[in-house]
Every structure is written in C-alpha cells, then in structure tokens.
C-alpha cells in the first residue's frame, strides 16, 4: 500500500458535501473508486467535482469543508 494525495484541480472553495443539508461525499476510512466524487470546488460561482483519481481508501482530508484552496493544493490522502 502506498499513500497518494488528491490535489485540487482549481483554485476556489472546497466543499465536502453536495449541498449544505446533505451528508459528506466521503468519510475518513471510506473505500473509493477512481471515478468517485470526493468533493466540489467552487470557482467563480461554478461548481466542479473533484474525483478520487485512484482506487483505494481515504486516510484523511487535508482541507476543511468550505476552506479556500489553491490549484494543486493537496486536499485528501488515500491509500492505494
């Protein structure tokens, strides 16, 4: 097993939930597939999904819900 990071593809606000009243996409420890959505980045009022990009298990999130992130900033770690 190796640890891999998921990077934000865009600068903006990171959201872990699809809507404020919905549960988070993924929790620490969840198993994810390559194409699973782990969060959203809001850039200039448009919302873009962040995919896991690899199959594995989420170790932890490095960015908080509603945190401002830069493009290329690591937002989660997965065990692949």
């Amino acid at each position: 097993m190796t640890t891999q990071q998921i990077f934000s593809p865009l600068p903006g606000i990171f959201y872990r939930k699809p809507a404020p009243d919905k549960p988070v996409y993924k929790n620490d420890g969840d198993v994810v597939a390559d194409s699973d959505t782990i969060g959203l980045i809001e850039v200039m009022k448009s919302f873009n999904e962040v995919k896991a990009g690899a199959a594995g298990k989420i170790l932890r999130f490095l960015a908080e819900n509603e945190e401002a992130v830069m493009a290329g900033q690591p937002i989660a770690e997965i065990d692949v």
């Binding site: 865009l10 606000i13 850039v43 401002a68």
Partner: protein, 464 residues
C-alpha cells in the same frame, strides 16, 4: 442629512464605480474587503479600508453584523450595498437604519414587497401594469387550470408550484396537448417535490427582455428610459443596450409610463429597474419583476441620458429631492455595454481566474471601461467572473457597434481568458447588427458558432 462618509459594502467594479461617485460628491469612502480582496482596486482607491473576514462571501460580504461594526468603527454614516450580496436584503436595509445609518437604496419595505413575486405582481396589477397572463396562485384541479387557459390562449407553460430552476415545466400548444400534459405534470410535481400544486402561465415565445430605469425620492419618480438585455446565456445578460432597438416610440412611452406608475405606487426611493418581457410581434409587454438596486448595466442609461445614476442615488439617500424633471430626461444617441468576464468562451465558458500580466484599456471618444483590473492584479476565484464592462456611445446603433468593435480590438487583457471573443463575434453577426434577437436567441447561436469563438479574432490595427 447629507452623507459625509460612505461605507461601500461590495467589491469589484461596482465598488470602484461607487467610490468614484462618492469622491465626486465630496464624500469620504470606506471600503470593506475580504482577505481575498486586500489588493483590489477598490481598496486602493478608498480613503479607508477595513478587513471584514475570510474570502467566502458568507463570512465577509454577506456578514451583516461585521459590516455594521465596520461602519460604526470607521464613523461612516451611510452604506452603499452595490448589486448582489446584501443589495436586496430587506433585513439588512432595516438593520442599517436601526443602527442610525443611511441605507443607500429603497426602504426595507419596498425591498420586501418587490422581492415577493406574488405581492409584486399584485402591486403591478393594482397600478395597471400588465403581467404575464396566468393563474395568480396555485391551481389544484385540471378543470380550474383549463378554465383559465381557455381565457389566456395557447401556448402555455404548466409549472409545478413547488418547482424552480426550470424544473417541472411543460409547454402545451393546444387544448389536446394541455389535457394530455396536465396530469403528467401533476404526477411529476408530486413525485419530484411532494406537492402536486401547479400554476399556468402564457408562454411568450421569442420575447425580448426590456427594462426601465427609474429614479425615485420617496415622493416623485422619473424614468430614464429603457434598456434591452435580450442577449443572455444561462439567464445571465452578456450584452445590454439603450435605447432598445425593438421599441416603437408609442410603445416606449406607454412602457416607461407604466414603470413610473408602479414605482410611484410603492413610493419608491433610489435607483430601481422594472423588468418586462416584450413581444414584438404583438407589441405587448408584461411586467416580470422589479430590481430594487443599481444594476450592472446602468452605464448604458447614463451614456444616453447624461445622468449619473450612482451619484443621484447617493444624493437621494442623503435626503435630497429629485433634481431632474421628467421633461429634462432626453435620449441622445445609442449605447452598448458588453460584460468582460474571466471565462473562456472556447471552453464552454470555463471560469478562468488568474493574474493580469498585461492590460491595455481602450480610450477615445464615446468609450468607457468600468473595471476592477490593473496590471499585475490577481483575480481571485471566490466571486463572480465579471472583470469589467466595456461601454460605448455613439450617434446611432450602427455607429455604436462599429465603435464597440474598435474598442474591443484595443482591449487587451493578458494572463487570463476573457469573453472578449464572444463580443467580437456578436458585433460581427448580421442578426445582432439588425437587432433581430430575443431571450432564447443566444444559446443556440453559441452552439452553431463555436468555431467563431475559438478562431483568433482579427488583430488590432492600432497596437498601443
């Protein structure tokens, strides 16, 4: 009470615009900013600037308590909300006044009334202003709906009362279709929204979006004629002009008079806009809603009338009566505004924040560029993508379009993609030049002109 120090509770180009108007009136300015905006042009121009929190608008520009504290701590006596954020928030307008400060805009009561679709529609009807024919409220039965449709005529839109964002809409073009679609719509509304309530509205096909600018002082109201904003993408205006190329003088007169009647009926104070759908095949217009704030596209009205709307709204907020009589408002020439956004039109308008590595702003007679940009500025990703508005004015519409093409060719924003190629393609389009468009025109045009938006535009002949 004249305003001495104005707090600007907004950002971007409108904050810059308000700062300039205040300065010209001899009013000191306080610019609030989120931490993403500390290097903004608005902050640079203001007399004072005050940090109101993190980049997220919900924690800064929308945080009413923090903004009120900023006003108190800087000794500002008035707050201008700009557009968006808190501009049409009745609770905020009331809180500003409760704090003993001036809200540069209408009363909380006016904001509340016009913000409620049903109440606004009722106010319009009471003032004799036509609204889109349809059911005033929800219809529970197919019989009730059909009785109504029989009066309005076809085509009609059947909408779910609990729906929104274009969901739960059916279009019926005949009685047969209506009887077929009505139960479907009802079942779908029930399944999707847990509420089978429907309402019905006449569908105005190929309608144009026309809006009337008004100024009121709480007693009198004048209009500053209309703007046409039919070129829209995802219900966002991209190109606005004044006067409308589609209105006959007699219709213009009735339309503008109806706007004044409605604004007077609600004792409107400040700058406001009444939006209408206009059917140019029947010359009928229908009131949609009122925006109780200054709008993005206000400059085209300023260019054709010579009235500084932002200065006027600040003066009115300071307690002055209207200084302009209706018969003094005259239209001179034609004006067009295009929105320059940080979006890439060749990539489905993907937002494109970044650093402005080089900037060349068009100048010359009849050209105005209201912007937040300067060379070296990094556009933050947290807010909307509007970078600036290019506004031109000339003696007539064809000359204004040629001037727009000239000014667009001179405008160079390097370091990020902008919507400039879209406007260049629109200005060259024969239908746009002929003024033949409506609110549903631009989206299919974008589909069929994708190539025009990726091809490099003709090079500027005048390189600065």
């Amino acid at each position: 009470m004249a305003i001495k120090k104005l707090l600007i509770a907004n950002r971007g180009e409108i904050a810059v615009r308000i700062n300039r108007a205040a300065r010209e009136l001899g009013i000191a300015t306080v610019q609030v900013y989120s931490r993403a905006d500390k290097d903004s042009l608005a902050v640079r121009l203001a007399d004072e600037a005050i940090d109101i929190g993190p980049p997220q608008a919900s924690k800064s520009y929308l945080n009413q308590a923090v903004i009120l504290d900023a006003a108190r701590s800087t000794g500002a006596d008035a707050i201008h909300p700009g557009y968006g954020f808190l501009a049409e928030n009745a609770e905020f307008a009331a809180a500003v006044e409760a704090a003993g400060l001036i809200f540069v805009g209408p009363t909380a009561q006016s904001i509340r009334l016009m913000g409620d679709k049903v109440a606004a529609r009722e106010a319009a009807a009471a003032a004799g202003v036509p609204t889109v024919p349809g059911s005033a409220g929800r219809l529970e039965t197919a019989e009730a709906a059909f009785a109504l449709v029989d009066k309005t005529g076809f085509p009609v839109m059947i909408k779910a009362a609990a729906g929104g964002g274009g969901r739960g809409i059916r279009i019926a073009r005949s009685a047969d279709e209506f009887h077929h679609l009505m139960p479907q719509a009802q079942a779908e509304a029930l399944a999707a929204f847990g509420d089978g309530g429907l309402y019905v509205e006449k569908l105005i096909e190929g309608a144009r979006h026309i809006e009337v600018q008004v100024l009121g002082d709480g007693h009198d109201v004048i209009h500053c004629f209309e703007r046409e904003c039919s070129l829209q993408r995802r219900r966002q205006k991209v190109w606005e002009e004044a006067p409308s190329p589609s209105l006959a003088p007699a219709v213009r007169e009735t339309l503008c008079a109806s706007a004044v009647a409605l604004a007077k009926a609600v004792n409107y104070r400040g700058a406001g806009t009444l939006e209408y759908l206009y059917d140019d095949s029947t010359h009928e217009f229908y009131f949609l809603e009122m925006n109780t704030r200054i709008q993005v596209e206000h400059p085209v009205t300023e260019m054709i009338t010579g009235i500084d709307l932002v200065r006027e709204m600040i003066r009115i907020a300071g307690g002055e009566r209207l200084r302009i009589r209706q018969d003094e408002v005259r239209v001179c020439g034609h004006s067009i505004e295009v929105r320059i956004n940080a979006e890439d039109p060749s990539k489905n308008f993907m937002p494109n924040p970044g650093t402005v590595s080089a900037l060349s702003v068009p100048t010359g007679d009849g050209v105005r560029f209201d912007t937040m940009l300067y060379q070296g500025y990094t556009v933050p990703p947290f807010y909307d993508s509007l970078l600036g508005k290019l506004i031109v004015h000339d003696k007539d519409r064809p000359s204004a379009i040629r001037r727009l093409e000239r000014a667009l060719a001179e405008l160079q924003v390097e370091g990020l993609a902008t919507t400039k190629p879209l406007h260049q393609a629109l200005a060259r389009d024969a239908e746009v030049q002929a003024g033949r468009f409506h609110t549903a025109w631009l989206e299919p045009w974008l589909e069929s002109h994708a190539a025009a938006l990726t091809a490099p535009p003709p090079a500027a002949k005048v390189a600065p």
